[in-house]
Amino acid sequence: MRMFNYIVLCLIVAIAVAITVMYVPGVAETIETRLLAFLATNAS
C-alpha cells in the first residue's frame, strides 16, 4: 500500500476506534475489564 493511502487508512481506523470506544455502550467497560484481568494475571 502506498504511504499516503496507508496514512489515510490509519486516520480512519483511529477515528473509528475512538468513536466506538466513546459512543458504543459497554465497549469502554469491556476493554478496561479485560485489560485489568490481563494485568492482574501477568503483571508482577
Partner: protein, 172 residues
C-alpha cells in the same frame, strides 16, 4: 511483502493505543478515577465536616480515591493508618519511570497539597504533607508491609524511593 507486514503491524499497534488513549481522555473529567485511569474532581458523596474520625476503619480498605486540587485530578491510592493518623504512599520514586508514572506525587509535593479523599463514599478535605523522616515512618512501613506486602522500610522511605504523605487535617 515486508512492507505490508510492517503496515499491518502498525495498524495492530494503532488500534489498542487509540483505544487506551480514548479511555484515558474519556475518564479525565469523571467523578473519580477508574481502576486504570485517573479521573476528575470528586463530586458525589457526603462531605465530612465533623471531628477527626477514628481512622482505624481504613485498615480494612485497600484503596481510596485521592483528588488533588492542583491540578484537579483523581486517582486510586493505597491507604495506611498508623498511630491514629492516615497516610498514602507513592512507590518507585527513585526511578525516572516511577517519577513519570507517579507524577501526582511530585505535583502534591510542589503544590499547595490541598486534596480530597473519598473513602466509602464520604469525602474528607485534607492536606498532603510529605513525611521524609522520623520514627512515624517505622509504623507506616510496618503497616505498608503487613497490609500490602510492600517490602519497604523506613530507610527506603528516607532514601526517597517511596514517598509518604500524611493526609493531615486542613486546619492547623
Amino acid at each position: 511483502m515486508i512492507r505490508a507486514l510492517l503496515q499491518l503491524l502498525g495498524i495492530l499497534i494503532l488500534i489498542p493505543a487509540v483505544a487506551l488513549g480514548t479511555l484515558r481522555f474519556q475518564n479525565r473529567d469523571a467523578d473519580g478515577p477508574s481502576i486504570l485511569f485517573p479521573g476528575g474532581e470528586l463530586v458525589s458523596g457526603e462531605l465530612h465536616n465533623g471531628p477527626e474520625p477514628d481512622w482505624s476503619f481504613t485498615r480494612d480498605i485497600q484503596t481510596v480515591e485521592l483528588q488533588l486540587n492542583e491540578p484537579l485530578s483523581s486517582r486510586l491510592v493505597w491507604i495506611l493508618e498508623a498511630e491514629g493518623r492516615i497516610f498514602i504512599a507513592s512507590g518507585y520514586m527513585g526511578s525516572f519511570l516511577g517519577r513519570l508514572w507517579k507524577h501526582w506525587a511530585i505535583q502534591a509535593d510542589r503544590g499547595n497539597g490541598l486534596a480530597v479523599v473519598r473513602i466509602d463514599g464520604i469525602r474528607y478535605q485534607r492536606r498532603l504533607v510529605r513525611i521524609t523522616q522520623g520514627p512515624i515512618l517505622d509504623s507506616v512501613a510496618a503497616t505498608m508491609n503487613e497490609k500490602y506486602n510492600a517490602g519497604t522500610s523506613r530507610q527506603d522511605i528516607e532514601a526517597g524511593n517511596t514517598w509518604i504523605f500524611e493526609l493531615a487535617p486542613r486546619q492547623g
